[in-house]
């Protein structure tokens, strides 16, 4: 028999476990990986360069399309960078809305992650459960911004508009009927905050359901315990953030350590792993969903009690109301200038980071005083994480590569930008 030593295997870019368009060139020794060389950039759209050719506000929508499962967190980093340079701060209500939507986004992201990661490792059912709740939160996105995913809801100086007073209801269809339809619509009788209150009361039991499927599942543990161990030193050397860092036992979370928006006022805990393997990161993310749920509840409570403006009353940055515009010459001029030219941002540079579901999402913004950014650099957590692939995966089996891709929580919209 002919002896075959190392050979090279091509994994992706079209592979269901590649989470989009990852191409991995794997050097294999039998079923053991010797070297992994990820080829990224297949989804590179040049977002940062496009942003240089447009006024500041017109690039907010591009941010949704980076990490397209945690849309509003990306917007938050970009908007925060602009606000830093302008020296403005959003009204308190807008800050609470941002905090709430950041956490809704975190749940959305983690649901996507838990479903697809389980699917990659052979547990087919979880994604069906996860998408059930994802759909419910997508409705909140739609209610507030008109779009299920690419919201473009945050603005420098606040958010686009206040929370809606009503939620759209389901009509009877072959998919929604009878008691099911009644249950869904019973949440939607009141305002969006009522809806969220009902959701958050219900959601912990849903997380229990996912945990029941996975946490003590023998196959799940065989596939994740002791796989892809990241030591705390390694995690720091490779610039890891978010759950990748916390899974290794470092209690680092920007929401606690460098609080932004209203996180300083929130009561929540930071889950931390022990072993730094895929299983610990799984536990960390599941617990993060529960904590996000708590934060949403606190925000709902505050938002209910405290009406107020959600946008700065500064016509250089925020548009005047329609009524004002029809009535007042100056408001009309401001409106015209804002939408034809935008606003100038004082020269300077800033780095604004938020704790996105995947890790630290940062926006480095350089302005030369113009109405367009001079340079925008978006620091995507997935990019840093994926670069450590070779170090972590070599010596593992081929099937563990899939577990590792899953635990990185990769989305190529942000890796490739």
């Amino acid at each position: 028999m002919q002896e075959i030593r190392n050979y090279t295997m091509n994994f992706g870019p079209q592979h269901p476990a590649a989470h989009g368009v990852l191409r991995l060139v794997l050097e294999m020794d039998g079923e053991t990986v010797v070297r992994a060389d990820p080829h990224v950039g297949l989804l590179h759209r040049g977002t940062e360069k496009l942003a240089e050719s447009k006024p500041f506000n017109q690039s907010i929508g591009y941010m949704d399309r980076l990490d397209y499962v945690s849309m509003m967190c990306n917007e938050h980093a970009y908007v925060k960078a602009i606000e830093n340079l302008l020296g403005i701060e959003a009204p308190e209500r807008a800050q609470y809305i941002r905090t709430m939507f950041d956490e809704i986004t975190r749940i959305l992201n983690h649901l996507m992650w838990i479903g697809s990661n389980a699917l990659d490792l052979g547990a087919m059912a979880v994604i069906l459960y996860a998408f059930r709740e994802r759909e419910e939160l997508m409705d909140v996105y739609e209610a507030v911004s008109g779009a299920r995913m690419h919201a473009t809801y945050y603005r420098p100086g606040g958010v686009y508009r206040d929370l809606p007073d009503q939620m759209s209801k389901y009509r009877e269809s072959p998919w929604h009927k009878g008691s099911d339809l009644k249950r869904i619509n019973s949440w939607r009788e009141g305002s969006m905050l009522d809806y969220l209150e009902a959701f958050t009361a219900d959601f912990p039991s849903k997380v229990d359901e996912y945990e029941e499927l996975l946490t003590n599942n023998r196959i799940w543990k065989q596939r994740t315990v002791g796989i892809g161990v990241v030591s705390p030193e390694l995690a720091q050397q490779w610039g890891m953030t978010g759950a990748m860092l916390r899974g290794s036992g470092i209690a680092w979370d920007l929401r606690k350590k460098q609080p932004y928006a209203k996180y300083a006022e929130m009561d929540f805990d930071i889950p931390v792993g022990v072993n730094g393997d895929c299983y610990d990161r799984y536990l960390v993310r599941v617990e993060e969903m529960r904590q996000s749920n708590r934060i949403i509840q606190q925000c709902v409570k505050w938002l209910r009690a405290n009406p107020g403006p959600v946008m700065l009353k500064n016509f250089k940055v925020a548009p005047p109301s329609r009524v004002e515009m029809k009535d007042d010459m100056e408001a009309l001029i401001h409106h015209f200038k804002l939408f034809t030219e935008g606003y100038g941002v004082p020269a300077g540079e800033t780095y604004a980071a938020v704790e996105a579901p995947k890790g630290e999402f940062g926006c480095y913004l350089v302005s030369d005083g113009a109405n367009k950014p001079f340079r925008v650099h978006l620091r995507a957590p997935g990019f840093a994480h994926l670069s450590s692939m070779d170090t972590i995966v070599s010596g593992h089996m081929l099937a563990d590569v899939v577990a590792m891709i899953g635990t990185y929580d990769l989305v190529f919209g942000e890796v490739d930008r």
């Binding site: 950039g41 780095y351 109405n371 340079r375 620091r379």
Partner: protein
């Protein structure tokens, strides 16, 4: 980030590195500019020494300062015919490859910007290293200090053509296989140089020169009168509702 920490960090930086770093602090962020030759020594010290402990390199990116501060629309002096409506700038998106901006009076175009994070001390620091030679921008690689910088340096090389001396594997990362040029440079057209399509006759994907025209909808403007403070004061003064 608390208010006191960045200031004390700046003091510690001055005490330790002296003139090697030129510091600038704004909005609780510290930027340290340094020469390419000093980078490795400073980086190692920043990582290891107590008081700095920058265990993580969060981000590295390239910048091309060509055309910094240039506008396309004169807003100061109004000519006899009004504002200069005919925009003839060379800002991003306005030119194709043949018409790209060339001459520059700015001495140094390219810089690498590094963002560091200390988890232990909860502090951040920004380093900027300018490349001395525009035609061959070189910066020492930080891969020996923080291995995680590997891909960020590949990205800066790919998009800006900055060479990182000592990098183990300086390949392109984001652009296409066989891509020519460094697309994020300010003299690289936004529309690109080539476009691809599937050719049914040759039964393969072919590259052709771009067919789209450069187009920018909003001119690049720098206004002195964009005074936010004044606008804020106007907004706060509710004379309209009286």
């Amino acid at each position: 980030m608390t208010d006191t920490q960045p200031i004390s960090l700046a003091e510690r930086l001055v005490a330790r590195f002296g003139d090697t770093l030129s510091l600038a602090a704004a909005r609780n962020e510290i930027t340290a500019e340094l020469a390419a030759g000093d980078l490795l020594g400073v980086a190692t010290a920043l990582r290891d020494e107590p008081g700095f402990r920058f265990s993580e390199l969060v981000d590295l990116c390239g910048i091309d300062y060509l055309g910094y501060g240039q506008t396309e629309w004169d807003t100061e002096t109004v000519s006899g015919t009004g504002f200069s409506r005919g925009v003839e700038g060379q800002a991003v998106g306005r030119f194709d490859w043949a018409g790209r901006p060339r001459a520059t009076d700015r001495p140094r175009r390219f810089a690498a910007v590094v963002h560091l994070l200390s988890i232990e001390l909860n502090q951040r620091l920004r380093l900027r290293v300018f490349c001395d030679d525009d035609s061959l921008p070189v910066v020492p690689s930080l891969t020996g200090v923080w291995p995680g910088v590997n891909w960020f340096e590949r990205e800066a090389f790919d998009l800006y053509g900055i060479l990182f001396e000592g990098h183990p594997d300086l390949r392109r990362i984001l652009t296409d296989y066989g891509f020519v040029g460094h697309p994020f440079r300010k003299d690289f057209p936004l529309i690109g140089n080539v476009e691809v399509r599937y050719d049914p006759e040759q039964k393969r994907v072919v590259y052709e020169p771009v067919s789209i025209e450069p187009r920018v909808l909003v001119p690049r403007v720098i206004r002195d009168d964009a005074d936010l403070a004044q606008a804020q004061a106007e907004a706060a003064d509710d004379w309209r509702s009286n």
